[in-house]
Symmetry: C2
Subunit: 415 residues, 2 copies
């Protein structure tokens, strides 16, 4: 399938395998940003960039950049993703995108192609929630967002407690110099889908039209801690019973919203209870809801339905439920129509089937899109698994994705 | 109300206040067995026993006993409860029973009454779940049950790690000498109800006909951890959703069983979830169910319904739910009909209203009943609260209860 492509499947497989082997041995595949293992992975990537003829440097925000000068300059075409992982993460999340981008640079050299524009291949710093508790540090930084309140956050690295500013310096950045780029003509990111749409439909490439908005809501349920043996069943204020009604109600609301044509997902990801003692009726439950929509109207609908659900449940179950508190709110991010058009026609030229999609996960591209036309392509994830050792994508799929990026770069370079 | 009784309300109030003041200052009212504060409380009680003319000693199981010799002996009439508390516990749970028993001894002396039988007032060691993780150590010990596997359990006392055997020795017992008593003619325990039946019905005294059986069941739900953003709502294996169905199903089953004439209570007291991360669909839930019945047939009905619920929920929600595992099983304990009859007529003679009840909580009396005719009386708990700082019982109610015990001892002494 990939043998007649300009990009080379074997080189991609070799790089992905090599990075996988750079892992904390007792919990594959782990290479968390700022750890020694991450720096070891970066050293491998930097050498691979140089071997591909790229000039490398670390920018102020700690991103590793490999540059290929163009004939005329006048704007940069950028390709990239990230090489850090979650704990016990996978071999492909982010990594596939960096290696596919690198392969595009190699294939351009192999074919003796000189672009008009500069080309940059980027390994963004700390896309995943990092040991400092924050994510997408490098891509935010590239838009000029210095995570100012964050720079003082501390974490343990090899027995030393350092702050994020020091962490960025240790990977080669300089937080005091972080500033926004204004020269990026277009940004492209290949990523694993982390879902099952492509696999189920047997489609090669997802053309991402938008990255979801993500809001988190905290709900606190307050009942009353009473003796499990002496309190009659009809005289209880059981916070767990009320919280269970909420969980099922939230699922029902989310399923209804997801039935429409626009993307929606709602998940109760955190749930804890007090006093959590065998013979005491639960008095308090805390839940954290992750709600995602591309259409802000759908998120508004969810907020209204959630609020009504809480009020009804509080009344029905005779417990206190505070109005849901929105603890975070990331707006949905439309991708550039110009770039998605280029990607769709590039897919067709590469002989790949494709379909428009939305991304239900956050990505570096969402931040870069603040300063440049940006878009993403997805390739299939086996069984939709990600952030797990089982994460898998076929090397042929990554290679086909790299070919699409190659075509897109040629197209964008002419514009 | 209590002014014309032989027992003295003022002495009872003074003792209960004095013990309440012996508490860990930062978390009233705390006097956990084996801690220095517990020993301080015990010293107060021992002095009060001696001031009442009782001969005191600590038995092999660590119970504090105050004895009043009878004219002929030939069996012991025993009254008692416990003075240890749960962390942040109350001023009355157990304590009311010990002080009411002590007041009976004082009232007998005041009235110049010599009994035929020996009378023993007992403060049982560690009724509550202790720092060693086990409960009713003293009352079990008095029946000859040396908590053999338990004696090696360790806990921290004042910075020292000691085992339970050493803990028992430190309160004055001798675990190697623990043996069952066979001389107890009758045992009576006054306790706070820890529920709201007496309060709601305006009845003075509950005559406890049986102490509930308690079984605990562990349920493990296994779904699949997937990405909260990229996994469609209709392609999830959400362990929390399934567990919520179980919580509501268990509540429904327990409510139905409790509608009958016999006591039943079912509570999900422990609940925890993994991975418990904001953007990950929950993969695992562990629940611990506390189920209580006096009629073993009702417990069997619960077990069958629980098993069916788990199977249905697993099928409906497409997750794995292991067959509920019974992790503990304490049989229900009927009280002595002879002693409950004595208590009911004693209540009537004391001018107290009474009703038969079951105890939904475990008590020392359940263990003593293995070696002697035993029964309990309950007095009202304000708002049903217990194991909490809010725990409250009116001093007049305790005093009336003490008067009932006084009458019952006179009656039992003649038998
Ligand atoms: N791509 C990805 O998994 N991002 C993590 C942030 C999120 O979407 O929850
Ligand atoms: N009386 C009392 O609260 N006992 C504790 C054991 C239980 O019943 O759960």
């Amino acid at each position: 399938m990939t043998s007649n492509l300009v990009v080379n499947a074997g080189r991609i497989a070799a790089d992905i395998d090599a990075l996988a082997n750079i892992t904390e041995p007792d919990r594959p595949w782990t290479r968390r940003a700022f750890t020694p293992m991450f720096l070891k992975g970066r050293a491998y990537v930097e050498k691979a960039f140089r071997d591909a003829g790229l000039e490398t440097h670390i920018d102020a925000a700690g991103n590793l950049i490999g540059r290929r000068r163009g004939k005329t300059g006048g704007g940069t075409l950028m390709l990239g993703s990230h090489t850090d992982t979650v704990p016990n993460g996978g071999r492909f999340d982010g990594i596939a995108g960096v290696i596919a981008a690198l392969e595009v640079a190699r294939a351009l050299s192999d074919a003796g192609i000189e672009l008009e524009h500069d080309l940059e291949i980027v390994d963004f710093l700390a896309e995943e929630v990092s040991i400092f508790g924050v994510s997408c540090i490098g891509s935010r930084g590239m838009t000029g967002v210095r995570p100012s309140e964050w720079l003082e956050r501390t974490a343990e690295v090899e027995g030393r407690r350092i702050d994020l500013a020091e962490g960025i310096r240790e990977v080669g950045g300089d937080p005091s110099q972080i500033g926004g780029r204004d020269d990026i003509k277009a940004f492209l990111e290949l990523h694993i889908e982390q879902g099952t749409v492509l696999e189920r439909e047997g489609i090669d490439i997802g053309i991402v039209g938008a990255i979801t908005g993500i809001s988190r809501f905290e709900i606190l349920v307050e009942g009353r801690a009473d003796h499990a043996g002496t309190t009659p069943m009809n005289a209880r204020y059981d916070a767990l019973g009320a919280a269970s009604c909420l969980v099922l109600g939230i699922e029902r609301i989310a399923k209804e919203l997801a039935l429409g044509s626009s993307y929606f997902a709602g998940t109760v990801g955190e749930f804890s209870m007090e006093p959590n003692a065998a013979n005491v009726i639960p008095s308090h439950v805390r839940m954290l809801i992750d709600a995602r929509a591309v259409d802000p109207a759908l998120m508004d609908e969810f907020v209204a339905a959630l609020s009504a659900l809480c009020a009804q449940t509080a009344a029905k179950r005779n417990v206190k439920i505070a109005e849901p508190r929105r603890v975070s709110n990331a707006a949905p991010t439309p991708m550039s129509g110009m770039v998605t058009d280029v990607l769709a026609s590039s897919a067709a030229r590469s002989g790949a089937t494709s379909r428009p999609m939305v991304s239900g996960a956050g990505h570096d591209a969402a931040f870069i899109s603040k300063v440049a036309p940006a878009a993403m392509i997805f390739i299939a994830s086996k069984d939709g698994r990600s952030h797990a050792a089982e994460e898998w994508s076929e090397n042929d799929a990554i290679t086909l994705g790299a070919a699409v990026l190659f075509e897109a770069i040629l197209d964008l370079d002419k514009r």
